[in-house]
Amino acid sequence: MTTETQANPLETEELISGSEAIARACSLADVDVITAYPIRPYDTVMQFVSRLIADGELKCEYIVAESEHSQFEIVKHASAVGARVFTGSSGVGWFYAFEALAVTCGLRLPMVAMVGNRALDDPGAFGTEHNDALAVRDLGWMLNWAATAQDCIDTALMAWRVAEDPRVYLPVAISTDGAFLTHSQQIVKVPDKSLVDKFLPPYDRGKFQLHPDNPITIAPQVNEDWLMEIRRQTDAAMRRARDVITETHEDFKRIFGRGGDPFLEEYMTDDADVVLVGMGTLTLPLKVTVRRLREKGQKVGFIRVKWFRPFPAPELIESLSRFKAVGVIDRDYSLGSPFHGGVLLNEVKAAMYSAENRVPIIGFVAGLGGREVTVPATREMFEITQKAAESGTIDNQIHWIGVRE
């Protein structure tokens, strides 16, 4: 596999899945405490983690908890003592931990979690859907969607650095589409630890460390006297996270020679009339379709949103304003929301309200429950968006793609 950059002698190319890539990142980052609990599809990462530990390639305290709630509470408390932590979940498991997810942000505790995106039961479904991770979007979690196994290892390494930056001190969730990324192998450049050490400083909890040498009281009752000020501080941390993410990506690019722009990945958008916007692994069929339509002379492109929180509103406004029409693909749903579409659509529309050029934006709901977003499906979405670009009007705000009527 040839790339634009010179092959780094401190990296090896391996055929591994997204889950294995993140497990390898745990070794490289010298994570101190990891908690596991089984639920498909995220749990594959813990299967790799436990094997790395068994073989002595990862040294950490590894606790198989009795529920997701405990899983997240355990690492939350480990983080308060100053330990670097990793955990994860999927679907309803993530929801079982919801209380812990909320307080982790309130406590300003860094944590990196992998969400193997999964539909919310019932009825039972193992396949990917983004509603699980998206449910915490208002609480202070930084949310990233990976598209490839390379993204998984790279983003994980960046995630600890961003989360543990004293300007931020907030948790990061890396979303990986169930099956498409958790279980699918790709060629991944795995860096040497010496390279990672140049990039990732140790976690220093500083004056907030819970230790007998630093006898502080953490999280007393604050009530109406102080909670609003504390929320405002968390808000400020999330605002600062934007700069920290940018810095981190730049440094990552400098050391590892890859990574692209921090918030958006644009594909063949330079002279495009129409683009589709989406997150996660549907990037692959989208890129195929863009290339095929380009071969036919159609000016189309694709934009992948990498960080959903903090939401890249300035980048999207700047980018999307130049197109004639935009289609937003949601692998999720937001029932009863303003347009009865998906979460990403609502966010993009909210961001674009302040744009001078109000580009027509159409919403697509696709690939729910792990249904494959096929090349023909993406072509259909382009056709609908192109029609809106030609007419300048939108007949139907929301289209469910590939659903049997």
Binding site: D30, D32, V33, T35, K59, C60, E61, I63, A65, E66, S67, H69, S70, E73, I74, V75, K76, H77, A78, S79, A80, V81, G82, A83, E99, A100, V103, P202, L210, H211, P212, N214, P215, I216, T217, I218, A219, P220, Q221, V222, N223, D225, W226
Partner: protein
């Protein structure tokens, strides 16, 4: 397993350390026995201790922003998370010390929860923690027999028939709480055979309670304690009688003082004497002192007495393991 602090037994209250690590700055009720449990617990543990407190009276009443009674580092944890908080804290210390990221020394980890946080919501996490033998930790459940912080609602650890805001006696149903109190310490002891120390305690027997904390922290691995804490607000009595009610609860045989060390059950103090044949006081001596049982009719008192009699006469080990098949 990392090493533990060597905490030798204290010989009487007067010989216990003068230093307090739970001091002024809390807002607990007058006569609050749970606050006394906190004070004795951390006095016994000493300064090289981290305390995690789950939601409940001992969170809300103790720690209000800008004041704290805790001299040792303290952190809140969620209602059902005492087990996880202890586990996460102990795991972090162990990992960081092993990797040289922190000075290697034995640090006590204690997580406390109320009966709601322990016997109800946190049961699963406590049980989980008690199976992780690699970590030194103590989970202490202070039991005031109701969700006392939220307005006195019945919990899985409330006594049968007790008046609470979720189980008020009415004109049709005199007894609204028809559940018998959970046997927490017994359940923990029987269910977690490798946990080396499980004990019950009562602040009325302060030296005994402190020494149990010290044993739990010294022996290593995950340990559990269950204290019974008279609560003037929830039990409805004059705050001056807290100490006396704690003693009555033991003397009537309703509460059994014991410890399970490496699987061996040892009854302590008055409970030991009762087991040896000393007469128990009638349960009504305890019940009639509290407003929460004021609606009891003679038949209710008899039912209560019968259950306690059965525990002492028919249980395999009174207070610990239910009826022996032979008896």
């Amino acid at each position: 397993m990392t090493s533990t602090q060597e905490l030798t037994p204290l010989r009487g209250v007067k010989n216990s350390p003068l230093e307090e690590f739970f001091t002024s700055g809390h807002r607990t009720c007058q006569g609050c026995e749970s606050a006394l449990v906190m004070k004795l617990m951390v006095k016994a543990a000493g300064p090289r201790t981290i305390v995690l407190g789950s939601t409940g009276c001992m969170y809300v009443a103790n720690t209000t922003y800008y004041s704290t009674p805790w001299v040792v580092p303290w952190m809140h944890t969620q209602l059902g998370s005492s087990g996880s908080a202890a586990l996460g804290t102990a795991a972090a210390l162990k990992a960081m010390m092993a990797k040289g990221k922190m000075t290697d020394e034995p640090i006590n980890v204690i997580a406390f929860c109320g009966d709601g946080g322990g016997a109800d919501m946190g049961l699963s996490a406590i049980s989980g923690a008690l199976t992780h033998n690699d970590y030194n930790l103590l989970i202490l459940m202070y039991d005031n027999e109701s969700y006392a912080n939220t307005d006195i609602q019945v919990s899985g650890s409330s006594p049968w028939g007790a008046n609470s805001t979720f189980s008020p006696p009415g004109s049709l149903h005199r007894i609204m709480n028809k559940r018998w109190k959970k046997n927490m310490a017994g359940m923990m002891a029987v269910g977690h055979p490798q946990a080396r120390y499980i004990a019950t305690g009562c602040a009325s027997y302060a030296t005994d309670m402190m020494n149990k904390v010290r044993k739990a922290l010294s022996i290593g691995g995950p340990t559990f304690m269950h204290t019974i804490d008279p609560c003037p607000k929830g039990w409805d009595y004059d705050p001056m009688y807290s100490h006396e009610l704690g003693m009555l609860m033991v003397q009537t045989g309703i509460w059994v003082q014991y410890e399970v060390i490496d699987g061996e059950v040892i009854l302590n103090g008055p409970s030991k004497m009762i087991a040896k044949g000393q007469k128990r006081l009638p349960v009504d001596d305890f019940l009639k002192r509290q407003g929460r049982f004021a609606h009891f009719e003679p038949e209710d008192i008899k039912y209560f007495q019968d259950q306690i009699d059965e525990m002492w006469e028919r249980w395999w080990i009174p207070g610990v393991i239910p009826p022996s098949p032979e008896k």
